[in-house]
């Protein structure tokens, strides 16, 4: 009986020690991140066929930083404005392939690119990544579930959505894509495909060491149509009627011009 009590007392003391040690380590690892983007705004103009942004930064250490053998790991994520999408599956109905079942996902990032120094599972545990929502598989995707929507069904549609997004280049995950130029200076080039959605983006840089997230920094990135593209787009959306009439006038003008130019007589 007394043996058990002694044992549990020992366990409690050991746990206490571990917790205080962890706290010490937290205080000790006083790394901070200083990050920057090559450009805060990416402009979509008529000759836009995609772009590339460079994310770079340094790991700043102060005097209290504990020297440890583990190397630093950097994870950079670029996440686009959220959107609501519907994923549909085709089924054969009367011999014809028809969109049948569908699941709606709310507020998912329209674009998501993740660059890291190593493979994610080498950087941290699944649990750490999941808690922080790091990695395409860990993104929060709220499904608008119907009454008889089983978890497996939603998971199937969610996997399909992730796969389609990857195929379209709207989601991307690249390990060994962040490089250290010096022990503390890192950079990565993140390609933005031609079909990149426009809007406000978040660029998050996270610093890991020994499986633990030390700190993270966030930057704003804006992808916006500019010049003619911007003018046309905003006209089409804010002055739809004027835009429609102007398009018809343009068509009439072109048709008339063609008639004049090619008249034989």
């Amino acid at each position: 009986m007394s043996g058990v009590a002694a044992n549990s007392g020992l366990l409690a003391r050991a746990l206490l020690a571990l917790v205080s040690l962890l706290c010490l380590a937290r205080e000790g690892s006083a790394e901070t991140l200083v990050t920057a983007l090559s450009e805060p705004t990416v402009k979509i103009t008529s000759n836009f066929t995609g772009a590339e942004i460079v994310v770079f930064g340094t790991v700043e250490r102060d005097a209290t930083t504990v020297e440890r053998p583990d190397a630093y790991d950097i994870v950079v994520t670029v996440s686009g404005p959220t959107e609501t999408v519907v994923t549909r599956r085709k089924d054969r109905v009367f011999g014809v392939w028809v969109n049948n079942e569908a699941v709606r996902f709310m507020d998912i990032p329209s674009f998501y690119a993740l660059h890291s120094t190593r493979r994610l599972n080498e950087i941290a545990d699944e649990k750490v990544l999941r808690d922080r929502g790091i990695g395409a598989a860990n993104l929060e995707m709220r499904a608008e579930a119907g009454v008889n929507d089983s978890a497996e069904r939603i998971a199937t549609f969610r996997d399909a959505l992730l796969r389609l997004k990857l195929q379209e280049g709207l989601y991307a995950q690249r390990s060994s894509a962040v490089g250290f130029l010096s022990p503390s200076l890192f950079r990565t080039n993140i390609p933005l495909p031609a079909n990149v959605p426009h809007g406000n983006y978040k660029v998050t840089v996270s610093l890991f060491r020994g499986g633990a997230l030390l700190t993270s920094e966030q930057q704003k990135l804006r992808i916006a149509k500019a010049g003619f593209e911007q003018f046309t787009y905003s006209m089409a959306h804010t002055n739809a009627l004027v835009y429609g009439l102007a398009t018809v006038l343009m068509a009439l003008g072109t048709g008339w011009l063609a008639g004049v130019m090619f008249r034989k007589e």
Binding site: I44, T45, N47, F48, T49, P81, T82, E83, T84, V85, V86, T87, R88, R89, K90, D91, R92, G95, V96, W97, V98, N99, R104, S110, F157, A160, L161, L164, K165, A194, N195, P197, H198, G199, K225, F228, E229, Q230, T232, Y233, A236, H237, A240, L241, Y243, G244, L245, A246, T247, V248, M250, A251, L252, T254, G255, W256, L257, A258, G259, F262
Partner: protein
Amino acid sequence: MQIYLPIAELPVNIFMILSMGGAVGFLSGMFGIGGGFLLTPLLIFTGITPAVAVATVTTQVVASSFSGVLTYWRRKSIDFPLAFVLLCGGIAGSAVGVWLFSLLQAVGQLDLTISIAYVSFLSLIGGLMLIESVRAMLRSRSGKPVSLRRPGQHNWVHGLPFKMRFRRSRLYVSVIPIAVLGITIGFLGAVLGIGGGFIMVPALIYLLRVPTNVVIGTSLVQILATMAVATVLHAVTNQSVDALLALILMVGGVIGAQFGARVGQHLRGEQLRALLALVVLSVGLRFAIDLVLEPVDLYSFSVLSGGGQ
């Protein structure tokens, strides 16, 4: 050379779009049709969403039909009262069509509806045209005169009430079948992005017995007006008209049409109709195959809201 389309939101090769417009324009000049039924599928094939493709092709049809209307107007072969009645029906049909278009898009069955409608209409019209033109060819080979208009011969259409006189077409018929024809074509035009010339021309000739020389000009007036209304409605309801894409298509189209018209003049009427029937049938077949074959990916997704606002 790549150019970024502001509404379609993707870059396309400008020369590819120009030549697509040119090729379809060539056929449309040769056969006297809008060519929307060929252009819409081609655009969808290049990765442009069906919504943008359909809406933008309606704009392109405005340009090509206006060019044609001017030509026929100069030749005084347009029956304006007839066009007006067709048009009243056409506008009503377009409004319903654009409404249905947004509804189907929301439900996720737009692509399917477009495919099924293409298959059924194209094979029906293509088949009828092929039969008719082959018969005409056989008749002309056996030395009998080819005549589409048989005056004095009336069908059930001529027994309907609300009759109206159309002087240029030398017709005295009920407005009901004309308005119904207009509604149908306006509706199809808005949902499928087609001018409907390939339905209108045979219907006017065979059903209403309008003289052939008046048919094309009159049908072009109706198509022009209906498509102009459909463009504005698409712009207002779906914001899916890409002006830049439309402009490139128009430029290619009007140039192609000039060459097509010249080639067309050297071919006989029934040969032209047989060729057109084959083109129409093959497009229909292409859609039918897609419907029946198992798709490479069963899943698809579409953005409902947000993302790039």
